[in-house]
């Protein structure tokens, strides 16, 4: 099956600064993917490129095989997008927003949208500017989902929501995923919320894709190694060392393993997803790592340099 989203050498420059450089990514369809990275890492740029709001400086980005910025008529009906701060027309009522969705989208499911709004208890006659932040986010999401997209892109959807609103938002999202099997890519700079909801991870840092793969593969491949203080060159030649720290007596490594660890002087521990992400965000690299299911290596890891 063709990937939902695919980028090749994707780069985007603003004036002199490179927001994204040589990004390679292949997101399989049907995944709920988390795009993680610090603020200003290029997550919004990436999503805007995917939805055709921006054009790449070099390289390509393709959604279901189409280029979003040059072939908008073909691909826009299949992409749902909720931008950062979930923009709505503040003077429009909920009813107006639904009409907007219907007039501007051929596949818009008005009945479904109304049913969802009713279930969420959002009054259709109130102006969007008067709704709470959580309700606005829900309206934006309902609008994007009622379009019946095959790919849904969400830019920091949970950032301005309180915990209850966050849970409600994710519940609506998961219900849609169950019903339609759509692919989701949502960006966040907080990883905590996303573990239960996402099954694919993309780490974007320093304008590069540092890591991309199924969360289960990522968790399985990364280990923390603790051992007596030493230079880990021998280990580093076989496995990829993500993070190193030394104390006087001890060396701790966070490693992306390429096979089992045979050196018994190391104590091997599991690593939490949060720690893995933090390690990559602190890393200074120009390359990236990608896990691809079905690849020949035992853990399905592929080093992309």
């Amino acid at each position: 099956m063709s990937p939902a989203l695919e980028t090749t050498h994707l780069s985007k420059r603003y004036g002199r600064t490179w927001a994204l450089q040589e990004c390679e990514l292949s997101l399989p369809a049907g995944r709920v993917a988390a795009l993680v990275g610090p603020n200003g890492a290029g997550k919004t740029t990436f999503l805007h490129l995917a939805v055709g709001l921006l054009q790449p400086t070099t390289g390509t980005i393709q959604v279901f095989g189409q280029h979003p910025s040059t072939q908008p008529q073909e691909i826009l009906p299949r992409i749902g997008f909720v931008a950062q701060d979930h923009p709505l027309y503040r003077g429009f009522t909920g009813e107006d927003m639904l009409t907007l969705g219907q007039k501007l989208n051929p596949r818009f499911d008005d009945r479904l949208a109304r049913a969802r709004m009713q279930k969420l208890g959002i009054p259709l006659q109130r102006r969007c500017g008067k709704l709470s932040g959580g309700q606005q986010a829900q309206v934006a999401l309902v609008l994007a989902l009622a379009k019946r997209p095959d790919l849904l892109l969400l830019d920091e959807p949970l950032a301005s929501l309180d915990p209850l609103a966050r849970r409600e938002f994710l519940r609506t999202l998961m219900a849609a995923v169950v019903e339609t099997g759509l692919t989701v890519l949502l960006s966040s700079h907080i990883i905590g919320d996303l573990e239960r909801v996402c099954d694919y991870l993309i780490i974007l840092s320093a304008s590069h894709v540092q890591l991309a793969g199924d969360i289960q593969d990522v968790l399985r491949a990364h280990k923390r190694l603790i051992g007596p203080r030493q230079d880990a060159a021998a280990l580093a030649s076989v496995h990829t060392v993500v993070e190193t720290s030394h104390t006087q007596r001890q060396t701790t490594l966070l490693v992306c393993t390429n096979g089992p660890i045979f050196d018994t002087s190391w104590e091997v521990q599991e690593v939490s997803l949060e720690d893995i992400v933090l390690a990559y965000l602190g890393k200074q690299v120009t390359g990236g790592l990608q896990t691809s299911p079905g690849a020949p290596e035992p853990n399905g890891m592929e080093v992309v340099q």
Binding site: Q73, L76, I79, P87, T99, K147
Partner: protein
């Protein structure tokens, strides 16, 4: 898309309609008043009878309607305000408030979004200014008998030039909004650009669309047959032997005028004017200039939205 464009500009449209109605009422009332005064003074009867000299009655009429005929200049604000309040925010507000990230990611292309909005706004501007133009042509009826409609202020209102300036202001506003992407800044830029085109065109280009007729005649002779109520007198005055021209005389009223003139060295009268039959030609030329700038502004706006905006 048409629904969206209408819904977004719904409030604006009603306000504009309201203002147009108010203006229509104002013009109707004052126009009828002026026509009545025109009749009352016997001026219409006088002018109908071609042989009599009506200048006294004309002066009386002009005195009576002076306030009105000079206040009408304020209507030149209409195109500007439209450009500032409707044109500038069209794209600027959308980008400033971030709603372009919603509007351009539905299933409608940016170009279609823009074309529909532009069409709606420009069509409305066209119709509104057309209505206003028709009203003003009627309103100027009596005044046109005593002053040239070819002259500066009247010219701006009594033909397609009014529609041209309206479309110019709108398109400049839209392009400015696409360029700077902030509403207030776009408004300022629109004003600057509009004046930068409008003022030079009216003051310096308009007298020369076709070469003006220059007449000179000796002080004792009689000049060309020119009607100040029809032809556009651009300038007139006195000329000396070297060809230097002046429009002012530093003569006191007590002196004998002819002696004073000759004493200052002037030998002839001169007159620069445009004949009345060129009125419509000039209207269309000037409208063409404004429409050309409008087209450029539109092309810029479309290019910016399609290629450069994020």
């Amino acid at each position: 898309m048409i629904w969206l464009a209408w819904r977004q500009h719904r409030a604006e449209s009603f306000i504009m309609l309201g203002v147009l109605v108010l203006l229509a009422v104002f013009l109707t009332m004052t126009g009828l008043n002026m026509a009545h005064t025109f009749q009352q003074l016997g001026l219409s009867a006088c002018l109908a009878n071609g042989h009599r000299d009506c200048s006294e009655l004309e002066d009386a009429f002009q005195n009576q309607v002076r306030a009105l005929s000079s206040a009408i200049i304020w209507l030149n604000l209409c195109p500007v305000l439209l450009g500032l309040l409707v044109g500038a925010p069209l794209i600027a507000r959308e980008v400033e408030q971030g709603t372009h990230r919603l509007a351009w990611t539905q299933s409608v292309t940016r170009l279609r979004w823009l074309v529909v909005k532009l069409s709606l706004v420009l069509l409305t501007g066209f119709l509104a200014s057309g209505v206003l133009m028709a009203l003003l042509i009627w309103w100027y009826g009596p005044l046109n008998q005593v002053q040239a409609r070819f002259a500066p202020i009247a010219f701006d209102f009594q033909g397609p030039v009014l529609i041209g300036t309206t479309l110019l202001a709108l398109t400049l506003g839209i392009a400015a909004g696409a360029l700077v992407r902030r509403t207030v800044l776009a408004m300022a830029l629109t004003l600057v650009l509009f004046l930068a085109i409008r003022v030079p065109v009216e003051l310096w280009l308009r007298p020369h669309y076709q070469p003006p007729i220059v007449a000179t005649w000796a002080l004792s002779a009689s000049g060309p047959q020119v009607d100040s109520a029809d032809d556009w007198i651009i300038s007139n005055g006195w000329m000396d032997a070297q060809g230097n021209q002046t429009t002012n005389l530093s003569c006191s009223s007590t002196q004998n005028l002819q002696q004073c003139i000759q004493g200052l060295g002037y030998r002839a009268n001169f007159l620069i004017y445009q004949p009345a039959d060129r009125f419509w030609t000039f209207q269309w030329i000037e409208t063409g200039i404004y429409l050309a700038f409008s087209a450029l502004a539109l092309i810029l706006a479309v290019w910016l939205v399609r290629r450069r905006l994020t």
